[in-house]
């Protein structure tokens, strides 16, 4: 059996503990006094900022409580932002404008600042906006990245790869012509990786790259490192910032982009996590993702439950290999979908809490390893082609929910996504939606907890938490995540939910404006300029790849032979992958590895 059952117990125990603290604060006077003292101290230390009209607002909003029991319930049950169990946020201040120097001196209590953990007056917190792109060839995506980030202080690039790359197949393989550069960028070699981020200072604190790829992730990671070394020398490796998705469990549960058998995929993944968490302290080597589970049709609760349980399973496996939870734990990150269903009012908040409790109580993790670092993307599935401009409103509402949940970073979908690779016009609007919410509006920039703590949100938290724990019990009864995967439990649950969703749309119980309500019969599909990869470009990619293979033929053989030996010996294969990535194409490496470990057997 897995540790998931222990997580369920830990969460239940925590709830009981909170109730005990409430009772104790009501019966034990000394304890009550301690609680009240702490509360008053917290309140007195909250800095105040002013709105543009001059209205003073506290930088942290707290519930108006004056009874020790209720205060204990809040402090132990929810926690302040940045405090266990992190319901209100992984950090104390997240999207707040930096406090002006004058105000800091007014109130001498510096508050620990956001994601980089530095004091006010130093670096302002990292901007949460992420720009997702990937199209055609590396140079085309590179151009798009420069366009998108031209006006941003920090460059936070998120990369989508084309189908062949996602499946570890080279662009010159039989049967993939037509797919090259479609739906994402084509990357076959380290040279493509150099082109992809050309012109960006990839070792700088103002740059981070995120790569949305899982099946061949360790190989792509190795290529990224090789490309960085080519441009900036070996010293750059320790400074690399970013995330690679690399989430094998969600692939076999939902997204199906797996290329090796599960056990082998997991082994390559854990090798990478171990290596990067020791050598690249700022890199997130796995993004434990519910997004694709949600997009494949799961309910929001299933999404959170499968994501969290997958995360706990990785932790369990890494610890079983002897890895230190306090070294790799802070390098785990999460990725959730945010749609329009009521559950999303608190889904990520609850996920953060369950993660923290599980990590602390079951795995003995320290504070940094308890924090659930979350990237959110608005729901692609909630967008539709009919009257697609409505998608702006859908995405705006989802963004609001994402930030109410205290996400650490967010990507907003572009309204034209249901029918094309997002065009520059609509991508800009999507990014601006975030700027309007965070910078223009006063909703998030003055006060932490501005919109949290309502009775409705609390009700959703309770209901969602109970439902997630029920899902955990079910998974545990099937032998934990691995057992449930082999029983195709998650897959069938997701498929059933997807089918129900479709039926609800068609019977009208799930209203979709422009589709089953207020439908505009006269509407025609908009004329759109499609970002398709021309045959000439596809051919260019194939030609470049063939040249690369020819040039490196001799070295490639040696590197692959060495890689195979390391894999067969059962050692950490990531260093050998790093060497292979210098001289081999993606397809050469996956092909050779598949000879040794086999192919993934698809699940239905």
């Amino acid at each position: 059996m897995s540790k998931l059952g222990a997580v369920v117990e830990a969460v239940e125990k925590r709830e009981k503990f909170v109730l005990e603290q409430v009772q104790r604060a009501r019966t034990d006077q000394q304890f009550a006094q301690q609680v009240m003292d702490r509360w008053n101290k917290i309140k007195s230390e909250i800095p105040v900022s002013k709105t543009p009209t001059g209205l003073p607002l506290p930088r942290l909003a707290l519930p108006e409580l004056d009874e020790a029991g209720e205060i204990a319930r809040y402090l132990f049950g929810d926690g302040l932002p940045g405090e266990f169990p992190f319901l209100n946020g992984a950090y104390r201040e997240m999207y707040l404008e930096p406090l002006r120097q004058a105000e800091v001196q007014d109130k001498k209590s510096g508050s620990p600042n956001g994601s980089n953990g530095k004091k006010n007056g130093a670096r302002p917190p990292e901007e949460p906006t992420r720009l997702f792109s990937g199209l055609m060839l590396a140079e085309d995506t590179n151009k798009r990245f420069h366009f998108l980030s031209a006006h941003q202080r920090s460059k936070r690039l998120s990369t989508a790869f084309d189908g062949p790359t996602l499946y570890g197949i080279d662009s010159d393989a039989d049967g993939v012509f037509g797919k090259i550069g479609e739906g994402g960028v084509a990357v076959d070699t380290v040279e493509d990786m150099v082109r992809l981020y050309d012109g960006f200072e990839i070792g700088s604190p103002d740059f981070s790259a995120s790569m949305t790829i899982s099946g061949p992730a360790p190989i792509i990671m190795a290529m990224y490192i090789a490309a960085a070394k080519r441009r900036f020398g070996p010293g750059v490796v320790a400074n690399l910032r970013g995330t690679i998705q690399a989430d094998i469990f969600k692939e076999v549960q939902a997204q199906n982009e797996t290329i090796f058998p599960i056990e082998a995929s997991l082994r390559f993944l854990l090798d990478m996590i171990e290596w990067t968490s020791q050598n690249m302290p700022r890199w997130y080597p796995v993004s434990i993702s519910g997004y694709h589970i949600g997009e494949a049709g799961s309910t929001p609760v299933q999404q959170a439950a499968y994501t969290l349980s997958n995360g706990f399973a990785y932790v369990e496996m890494l610890m079983a290999r002897g890895a230190d939870v306090n070294v790799f734990g802070p390098r785990l990150s999460f990725f959730l979908d945010c749609g329009l269903d009521a559950e999303y009012i608190a889904l990520s908040r609850v996920s953060r809490k369950i993660w923290a409790i599980g990590m602390r109580e079951v795995f003995g993790a320290d504070r940094r390893a308890q924090m659930f670092k979350l990237h959110t993307q608005t729901s692609g599935r909630s967008l539709i082609a009919a009257e697609f401009k409505n998608n702006l409103t859908r995405t705006a509402a989802e963004l609001m929910l994402a930030y109410m949940n205290g996400t650490n970073s967010c990507h907003s979908n572009s309204a034209d996504e249901p029918f094309t690779t997002p065009s520059e016009e609509w991508i800009r609007l999507a990014a601006h939606g975030q700027a309007i919410l965070l910078e223009e509006s006063g909703i998030f920039k003055h006060t932490m907890n501005m919109l949290t703590g309502s009775p409705g949100m609390k009700a959703v938290e309770r209901a969602v938490e109970t439902a997630i724990l029920d899902e955990f019990r079910e998974i545990e009864s099937l032998g934990g995540v691995m057992g449930a995967v082999e029983n195709r439990y998650q897959r069938s649950q997701i498929q059933n939910a997807a089918h129900r969703y479709e039926q609800q749309i068609y019977d009208g119980t799930r209203p979709i404006v422009g589709l089953n309500r207020y439908r505009n019969a006269a509407e025609e599909m908009p004329e759109i300029e499609l970002a398709r990869t021309s045959r000439a470009k596809q051919k260019l990619q194939v030609d470049r790849l063939m040249k690369f293979k020819k040039k490196n033929a001799g070295k490639a053989k040696g590197a692959l032979d060495k890689l195979v030996k390391v894999v067969e010996r059962g050692e950490n294969c990531f260093p050998a992958l790093l060497e292979a990535a210098e001289v081999c194409s993606l397809g050469q490496i996956t092909g050779r590895l598949q000879e040794v470990v086999g192919h993934f057997r698809p699940m239905v």
Partner: protein, 391 residues
């Protein structure tokens, strides 16, 4: 009652978006359609081969990762080139396929493209209206596979009509058999039956054995007759192909059959179809039943040369073993998934149960999902050595 419509559904290469197709498959089944599901990340060649072998009326492709114009056109082109232009192609891709794309795809021979917003019921109705007509005179087969596929359809549909055509179809000599006879090879076909409870891993085991058959002899050809249950009053999801890797090969002929109302793990047409396959020049014909219960005894009338019962260690209490009838008649009992906790106990309990029979039954422990599993190697040796001694 007319025979159910058979369609093949698949998702193209480098595309794992199976959410839509899974939902559509379920809906098709509800509307009485038999769906052979090939799965995701499939090459054009795999789709065309499967469509011809399964002799479906149409192929439905769900594409979300781009490149659809080329991919659909290539499926149409290859079907035509292989003489199977009667198998039609339709599909969709949510919003990723534009109306302009769809026009171009139709010019290239695609029947229909569905857009986002089309109801599931509309799609099912389309399939019924467009592909539900009884087949007219069949085109002249261009390959042995195609001829065999047509004849299997004739047998299966014959049973549906209530005319139990026992052996007319299989009596005449098939092209492939002729081929073997003229090249003066006296052909030995060994028929191997696989049965066992659902979830024991029969399909994975067969696919792993196929890899070994193919590697063992570079000229051998294999047929697989696989069964899935018909849903009462509805169609069937014939999904074994979707989880197979090694059986997507030109040397493997696979046919998926729905039980069409017959209990016991096989279809009314199985015996006749098997007869035809056994005389079509294959080295091995593998037949896989649906997941069976304790009382099942699917292979009667000396239908097969060897019977293999595939179990997993989770059969419950020891007493349950006494009730599994197949344990008395199987030639080989495979205990798969022996990486599970209960495996050791299960193996010794089953072994003990078999000694009571006092027959020369063999027991093999496998982990079929494992690459190059030694247990599967052992099973392969057992099967091939027995075949050698067959008269």
């Amino acid at each position: 009652m007319a025979a159910p419509i058979r369609v093949l559904t698949a998702v193209p290469i480098c595309d794992g978006h199976d959410s839509a197709i899974n939902t559509i498959n379920l809906e098709f089944i509800r509307h009485g359609i038999e769906v052979v599901y090939l799965g995701f990340h499939r090459y054009v060649g795999d789709i065309v081969r499967a469509a011809i072998q399964e002799d479906v009326a149409a192929v439905g492709i769900s594409s979300y990762n781009g490149g659809h114009i080329e991919f659909f056109a290539e499926v149409v082109k290859q079907l035509k080139r292989k003489g199977a232009g009667d198998i039609k192609v339709f599909g969709g891709g949510g919003g990723t396929i534009t109306h302009d794309d769809a026009r171009e795809m139709k010019q290239k021979g695609v029947d229909q493209i569905f857009f986002a917003g089309t109801s599931l019921a509309e799609m099912a109705k389309f399939v019924h209206d467009r592909y539900g007509k009884p087949r007219g005179k069949r085109v002249k087969p261009k390959s042995a596979d195609q001829e065999l596929a047509h004849r299997l359809t004739a047998i299966e549909d014959g049973f549906q009509d209530g005319k139990r055509r026992t052996s007319n179809a299989e009596r005449s000599t098939s092209k492939s058999e002729k081929r073997h006879q003229t090249s003066n090879i006296k052909h030995q076909t060994s028929v191997i039956g696989f049965t066992g409870p659902g979830g024991a891993g029969k399909t994975t085991l067969i696919d792993e054995l196929v890899l070994r058959f193919l590697n063992h002899n570079s000229r051998s050809r294999i047929a697989i007759l696989s069964h899935d249950p018909s849903v009462i009053g509805e169609g069937a999801l014939l999904g074994d192909r979707a989880t197979m890797i090694n059986s997507q090969d030109d040397r493997v002929f696979m046919r998926s059959m729905a039980t069409r109302g017959q209990a016991g793990g096989l279809s009314p047409a199985t015996e006749s179809c098997l007869n035809l396959l056994a005389h079509s020049g294959f080295d091995y014909v593998i037949i896989e039943t649906v997941g069976t219960g304790q009382e099942a005894l699917p292979f009667r009338n000396q239908l097969v040369d060897q019977t293999i019962l595939v179990m997993n260690p989770d059969y419950g209490a020891r007493l349950q073993l006494q009730k599994i009838v197949m344990l008395d008649v199987a030639d080989i009992v495979v205990v798969n998934k022996t990486d599970l906790e209960r495996a050791k106990a299960a193996l010794s309990e089953i072994e003990h149960r078999l000694t009571q029979n006092k027959r020369k039954q063999q027991i093999v422990a496998t982990v079929a999902k494992r690459h190059r599993d030694r247990g599967v190697d052992e099973l392969f040796e057992l099967i091939t050595s027995k075949t050698g001694g067959k008269s």
